[in-house]
């Protein structure tokens, strides 16, 4: 069989300007969702944590730690998921595959904004090459994860937290490849268009749900690890006060109460509802 790649004018189906408007709406919703969710998690960090940390390791130190965490934990994923090589490898594949696809999307949007994409697998378009390689890596990683969840006893039922995210990401990837395949095999434009529309739908769903699904861990987990890293660094510097060393601070509090240096607050919520006796201690 000889494949005849076709040049598809995507704007023949949906005007690019409509997709642009939809993209702006999606981005606005995502930004709102991320800010809304992140505002909550910032509050999870004990108040005054960063301002106190700045006193010990300076703003420059905090920024340097941030980039060190970004490079080591996020991009290289060192000392992350080190319980299993398969788990770490698949996580890396999904992470870099997704980033590659994001790059390819931006590339194509910048250089082929009118929707006239060159034929697939043409080596004169970096977006095509990176997109297809990344998509394959992502699909492979996702498939291993799904197979492990489905068939390896140890992991069965352990995907409850990320099931929606996994399903949408998987469907977005598969429909992306389906679109590529229809173009590559020279299928009718209508089949390519319908695949493309479905793919766009899943991508929009993936991004719109991101702040509310396991996708959000891409921001949340590195942030929490950054907070932990600051605590580690301060511990090495001998800072033992709250909120940097919670346990040591708790022990100090108990001792201070014993020695009368601090007045204890009686935990009134421990009283029975019909309690009339007031604490004397």
């Amino acid at each position: 069989m000889i494949f005849i790649p076709v040049l598809v004018q995507f704007n023949g189906l949906v005007p690019v300007v409509w997709i642009d408007i939809l993209a702006v709406v999606v981005v606005m919703v995502i930004v709102f969702g991320v800010v809304y969710r992140f505002a909550f998690w910032v509050k999870v960090v004990p108040s005054g944590f960063f301002s106190e940390a700045k006193r010990y390791i300076t703003t420059r130190g905090l920024v340097s730690l941030f980039f060190s965490e970004l490079a080591n934990r996020v991009f290289a994923q060192r000392k992350v998921l080190n319980d299993s090589k398969v788990r770490r490898t698949t996580h890396l594949m999904i992470f870099w595959g997704f980033l590659g696809l994001a790059f390819a999307t931006v590339w194509d949007d910048v250089f082929f904004h009118d929707g006239s994409l060159p034929v697939p697998f043409s080596f004169d378009n970096l977006g095509n090459i990176v997109g297809n390689v990344s998509g394959f890596i992502l699909l492979l990683g996702l498939t291993v994860v799904v197979l492990r969840y489905a068939f390896v006893g140890k992991f069965k039922g352990s995907a409850k937290g990320d099931l929606i995210f996994l399903i949408i990401l998987y469907l977005a990837t598969i429909t992306g490849f389906a679109t590529e395949l229809t173009r590559f095999t020279g299928s009718t434009a209508s089949l390519t268009y319908s695949n493309y529309l479905v793919h766009l739908g899943f991508v929009a769903a993936l991004l719109l749900s991101a702040p509310f699904t396991h996708f959000f861990h891409a921001l949340l987990t590195p942030f929490m690890r950054y907070v932990e890293r600051i605590q580690d660094v301060l511990f090495q510097k001998g800072v033992t006060r709250y909120p940097f060393q919670k346990k040591t601070a708790m022990a100090s509090l108990a001792e201070d109460v014993r020695d009368g240096k601090t007045k204890a607050t009686y935990p009134s919520w421990l009283d029975r509802e019909d309690e009339s006796a007031k604490p004397s201690g």
């Binding site: 352990s158 409850k160 929490m224 040591t248």
Partner: protein, 227 residues
């Protein structure tokens, strides 16, 4: 008054008092917890903090037994992005390790440093696993957060068999049962005849100091300390 488990179960408020004046820092509670809950090698749900206080000749050792405070208003529950943390009717805060995605938000949110993530499966004795490590593999998930549950499985057993928490052995957390100094007292705060209620009442009469750790964070911890 203790109503028994069943229709009034939501009235139950399980709590623990730790009498610091009695603690001798033997770590038996920590070990009992580890065996009872098969926690992985480097994870301890109920560690005792040992610290040196004062200077010679008045130096001494100080001990603070710690565990999850099973707060009335648990910040870990609010922080969990996958809703893996819940609070039961009896007040015990539980992490569903299957739902946990390892975001670590609960670790940052907990003011008591009571939550740990099982980072890596490893054996204390090099090659091969000990029977306890095999149990840890069965009970816990690598990459998930875990913490003290007030021995929730024992409370479930108590509920099924009409036992009284803090009184009947199988209805009492392992750390409480094991403490040779009997410094841990457990039970239902809403039951005036429970060991914990009686101990608290007695302490008030004696004018002893009852404190909770980090009251300013307003989590209403259900573990209180006493001097």
């Amino acid at each position: 008054m203790f109503h028994g488990w069943g229709e009034f179960v939501s009235e139950m408020k399980l709590a623990m008092i730790i009498d610091l004046a009695k603690c001798v820092g033997c770590d038996a509670c920590s070990v009992a917890c580890k065996v009872e809950n098969a926690t992985p090698g480097d994870i301890w749900w109920a560690p005792v903090i040992h610290s040196e206080v004062g200077k010679f000749p008045k130096a001494r050792l100080s001990f603070l037994p710690t565990l999850c405070m099973n707060c009335e208003d648990p910040p870990c529950k609010k922080s969990c992005p996958t809703k893996a943390i819940s609070k039961r009717d009896d007040g015990i805060v539980i992490i569903d390790e299957g739902k946990c995605a390892g975001s670590r938000a609960c670790i940052t949110a907990c003011p008591y440093d009571a939550i740990r993530v099982w980072e890596k499966e490893s054996s204390v004795y090099g090659e091969g696993r000990t029977p306890l490590e095999d149990m840890a593999r069965e009970k816990h998930k690598v990459g998930a957060a875990q913490k003290c549950t007030f021995c929730a499985h024992r409370m479930d057993y108590a509920k099924a068999n009409g036992l009284k928490p803090g009184v009947d052995r199988m209805a009492t957390p392992a750390c409480v049962l094991t403490c040779p100094a009997e410094c841990r007292i457990f039970g239902d705060l809403e039951d005036e005849s429970s060991p914990v209620s009686k101990y608290l009442d007695e302490a008030k009469k004696d004018g002893r100091t009852v404190l909770s750790l980090r009251p300013e964070v307003k989590t209403k911890p259900k573990v209180a300390y006493m001097w």
